[in-house]
């Protein structure tokens, strides 16, 4: 069909761009994946929703597995679908219970029958206790294994079709629109909270270029006057760009070398920083050099504040510098002309990412609120369902 071809073309183009690193900004990646997923959902029947998301999700994440924002958005979609399906099952089972409870009163053996019925219905989910539908989720939900949910089409059509007042697809599409709006307004939502972080005539230290931090400073500077010190982050030197843009907003900035961080840290009031990704244990996978900042801030007892959007939340657990890292070309550090004079024994190391453990971070700021690093796993739970933590192949 024509729709299929167009979708495939769009997906291929996007995959190609990501592979060639034409799109490096994680926000842009997230926005574009969400558009593609929307297209997929609109041109798909309800039966095949989950399958298609899995299929395209695999394609998109394999373009660049380290670009975790793509995977995060795919997880968002699949979690929306799975949650909807789970709730429908819960309602179905509840209604079934009502029908059967009349029988139970006669037989006076409620529990066994339930279990027997559950065993018989292998296809159905081993769902959480059916009585409280609006119970807040606990760790057990997070840790219990759940099999995949595929409703047989017969059930859907015949017995309980009258239960589905709204179709799955329309609900899913509505929620997708909500997520898209959330993506759009990440910068605004975060910068609104900025005024709780900064007081007047403060000196704030940042690292490199981050659009979220820029927007926050822009918003707060209308209310309060402060000063910013920017550390050029080598080897990308994005700090220069940040300093330029800040000075265009008439915020007094000073640009320093990365090596001067410790000497200036005692004169600074707080450290505000953006990251690439936030991991499930509350740690960061960020631009190289941010760990130095974090350790220095800890030693000087300064608050180390990290701003992130929901698309940066990824459910992996790093424990090491190497687990989510990649090496870049040594050209960025060392001139090729000088490299000729070196022997074979010499190595030049240029990693891209830096791991910051959660003990060094004082505060995370999200679209909704500020969080402790120990709370990040709960946010993960809200956004992603349990079976999507590892995208199944």
């Amino acid at each position: 069909m024509q729709n299929k071809n167009t979708i495939n073309n769009i997906v291929d183009e996007f995959v190609r761009k990501v592979r060639r690193a034409e799109i490096t900004d994680s926000y842009q990646c997230a926005v574009q994946t969400w558009k593609i997923l929307k297209l997929i959902v609109t041109n798909c029947s309800e039966d095949k929703l989950l399958k298609k998301t899995e299929m395209f999700g695999k394609m998109l994440t394999n373009a660049n597995p380290l670009e975790m924002s793509i995977g995060n958005m795919v997880r968002r979609l699949s979690s929306i679908i799975n949650k909807e399906l789970g709730e429908r099952k819960v309602t179905k089972n509840a209604k079934r219970e009502e029908l059967e409870s009349t029988k139970e009163e006669k037989e006076k053996k409620p529990n066994k029958i339930k279990i027997n019925q559950a065993k018989n219905n292998n296809l159905l989910q081993i769902s959480p206790p059916l009585r409280n539908l609006h119970r807040s989720k606990s760790l057990s939900d997070f840790l219990t294994k759940t099999t995949q949910t595929t409703l047989p089409s017969t059930l859907n059509n015949t017995l309980f079709s009258h239960l589905n007042e709204k179709s799955l697809k329309s609900v899913v599409q509505k929620q997708m629109v909500d997520v898209e709006e959330e993506l759009k307004f990440t910068y605004d939502a975060i910068s609104e909270q900025g005024i709780d972080l900064i007081h007047a005539n403060e000196i704030i230290l940042t690292f490199g270029y981050s659009k979220i931090v820029l927007e926050l400073f822009k918003e707060v500077y209308k209310m309060r006057k402060f000063e910013v010190v920017v550390a050029e982050s080598s080897p990308s030197y994005s700090g220069h760009k940040m300093a330029e843009e800040l000075s265009k907003l008439e915020i007094p900035t000073t640009l320093i070398n990365d090596s001067a961080i410790f000497s200036i840290m005692s004169k600074v009031n707080s450290v505000i920083v953006g990251t690439r990704y936030v991991m499930a244990n509350g740690g960061l996978v960020a631009e190289i050099g941010i760990n130095n900042l974090a350790v220095a801030a800890k030693i000087h007892a300064l608050p180390f504040i990290v701003l992130f959007g929901n698309y940066q939340l990824s459910p992996y657990f790093p424990y090491d510098q190497d687990t989510f890292n990649i090496m870049r070309s040594p050209d960025e550090i060392f001139d090729q002309s000088e490299m000729k004079n070196l022997s074979e024994n010499a190595q030049i190391i240029n990693p891209q990412h830096d791991y910051v453990p959660p003990e060094l971070i004082t505060l995370f700021i999200n679209n909704d609120n500020g969080h402790q690093p120990s709370y990040i796993y709960r946010i993960l739970q809200e956004h992603y369902s349990a079976q999507d933590l590892v995208l199944q192949n």
Partner: protein, 537 residues
């Protein structure tokens, strides 16, 4: 004079009677006079007032007013008229001459010209005249400064007033334009911004030039070797602390050898040294060790007055040689002897930037066939690690290279950290190249020992808790020039953006595990003991 005025008055009176304007015809003379006085006062012509008043007064009184000469006061008008008619008949053409002369006298310009014409004077009169002129000139010179400053103050005041007016108008305009907010604060002036104001006590960076003022080829001569050294310092060809000390000591030797002593030895030598060192310091600020070296050499010079010039020179040069040998060359050798034994096979040693001592240590360890490898860490703005990398690579040592930002990535492989230092303070903390504090901090966090190697002449009685109290500014261009072509250029720096380039760094004592000097291995807490007991100078 008088008869001319009388003529004018006569003509005016006749004209006045004929040409009274219509709006004044009803008034008397007195009323008209008052009217005209008011007019003239408004227009601001005070000079003409008294003359006109006097002329009007004359018309009233027949007996002479103030302008009538004395010999004619007793006479009436008619008598005066007859007197003047007689005189006119007597003198025919002379009236015109008289009139001309009187007119000329009135003109001030002509008077000046007449004054400027050289009068015929005798020699004595001319002498007196020129003496008076000289006196006047000298007085003018003395008063010139006062007048100039007074004029300056006046000018500044007027400028300040103008600026104040301008800023007030601008503020009013900006206040009108700004949207009304609940809390409005004044924008911080970029000049009083806190970080730059904190570092304002540090002397700013000086561009290396040969057009330095003070090179006057007259009495005060600067030795050509100082000029050579100054260029080497400012361009960075001779960079490290010990390197600069050695170069400075060699220069002092040559200067003292070639000095021409006229009066006392010590005075002349000190003057010569001050001249040359003042020139040197303009190009790059001296480090603490260099100051202490200069102080000791001057002390030696002051103690040598009793000897003859030749002997004194020989003595001081030998003292300088001994200093170099004892405190620098021999000390470095002893440190290498002690320190290379600390490197065990299988070690991975991290080194930051460039240091003579550490290069020697690693070379010696490699020569003694210990299998180890080295990680060289480098940072901006000085990029000294690349030099060390090349040297070590030439010796055949296995090296890896990374930037300061990647140190937390690579520290997990490292077993020991060796650091070179500029100064060790008496509270045990070390002043080194900027970035050493970060290296030590991350090493401490990963429980890797930090070993500082320095000869004892780098110990000082100074105390410093902060990196900003005494530091050095580097070239801000070094911060701004990057491999990216899109970075800001210093000519186009926006007004709200500042660039700070610091060169030195204080690593606190808690990050340092061990200090190796020529006297042995010591903890950083006993630096003060070393200074007290062992330091010669």
């Amino acid at each position: 004079m008088s008869h001319q005025q009388n003529k004018q008055t006569k003509t005016k009176t006749t004209e006045q009677k004929k040409s009274i304007p219509e709006h004044l015809q009803g008034m008397n003379k007195e009323e008209r006079r008052q009217y005209y006085q008011n007019l003239h006062s408004k227009k601001g012509k005070p000079q003409k007032k008294p003359q006109k008043q006097k002329q009007q007064k004359k018309t009233e009184t027949n007996k002479g007013g103030s302008n009538v000469p004395e010999h004619l006061k007793g006479m009436t008008k008619e008598e005066r008229r007859k007197y003047y008619q007689k005189q006119r008949e007597l003198s025919g053409g002379q009236q015109q001459k008289q009139q001309k002369q009187q007119k000329q006298q009135k003109n001030k310009k002509v008077q000046k010209k007449q004054a400027q014409k050289p009068k015929k004077m005798t020699k004595e009169e001319r002498k007196k005249y020129y003496e008076q002129l000289n006196k006047q000139k000298q007085e003018q010179k003395k008063n010139w400064n006062q007048n100039y400053q007074q004029g300056k103050q006046k000018g500044q005041k007027s400028q300040d007033n103008k600026q104040k007016q301008k800023t007030q108008t601008k503020q009013k305009e900006t206040q009108k334009k700004q949207p009304k907010t609940n809390k409005t604060q004044q924008l911080s002036d970029p000049r009083t911004r806190t970080l730059t104001s904190i570092t304002s006590h540090i002397s700013p960076f000086q561009q290396p030039t040969t057009k330095e003022s003070g090179v006057e080829f007259s009495e005060s001569v600067i030795h050509p070797l100082t000029i050579e050294l100054s260029l080497k310092f400012s361009s960075g060809k001779i960079g490290g602390t010990t390197g600069r000390c050695i170069a400075l000591l060699n220069l002092l030797k040559i200067l003292i050898r070639e000095v021409t002593v006229r009066a006392r030895f010590s005075e002349d030598v000190v003057k010569m040294l001050n001249r040359n060192l003042d020139y040197l310091i303009k190009h790059r600020r001296f480090s603490y060790t260099m100051f202490s070296v200069i102080r000791t050499v001057k002390e030696w010079v002051s103690r040598v007055d009793s000897l003859e010039v030749k002997e004194a020179k020989i003595k001081i040069c030998s003292q300088i040689d001994e200093f170099l040998r004892k405190h620098i060359y021999d000390a470095e050798e002893e440190i290498t002897e002690i320190a290379w034994k600390k490197i065990k096979p299988g070690d991975v040693i991290l080194v930051y930037a460039n240091s003579r001592v550490i290069e020697k240590i690693l070379k010696k360890a490699h020569q003694n066939e210990i299998s180890f490898r080295v990680v060289v860490v480098d940072s901006r703005p000085m990029n000294e690690g690349k030099k060390l990398l090349k040297k070590l690579d030439n010796y055949g040592i296995k090296c890896s290279f990374c930037e300061l930002n990647a140190i937390s990535y690579i520290i997990k492989e490292v077993t020991k950290v060796f650091i070179g230092v500029a100064v060790i303070l008496s509270n045990g903390s070390a002043v080194g190249r900027i970035g050493t504090a970060i290296v030590a901090m991350i090493a401490k966090r990963s429980r890797v020992p930090v070993i500082v190697c320095c000869p004892s002449f780098k110990l000082s009685k100074k105390v410093q808790l902060d990196s900003l109290v005494s530091n050095e500014h580097g070239d801000p261009k070094k911060v701004l020039t990057t491999k990216n072509s899109k970075s800001v250029k210093i000519q186009n720096l926006p007004s709200d953006m500042d660039v700070i380039c610091l060169l030195w760094d204080v690593t606190p004592i808690k990050f340092i595990s061990l200090v190796i000097t020529e006297y042995g291995l010591l903890p950083p807490t006993s630096m003060q003991v070393l200074i007290r007991e062992f330091k010669d100078f």
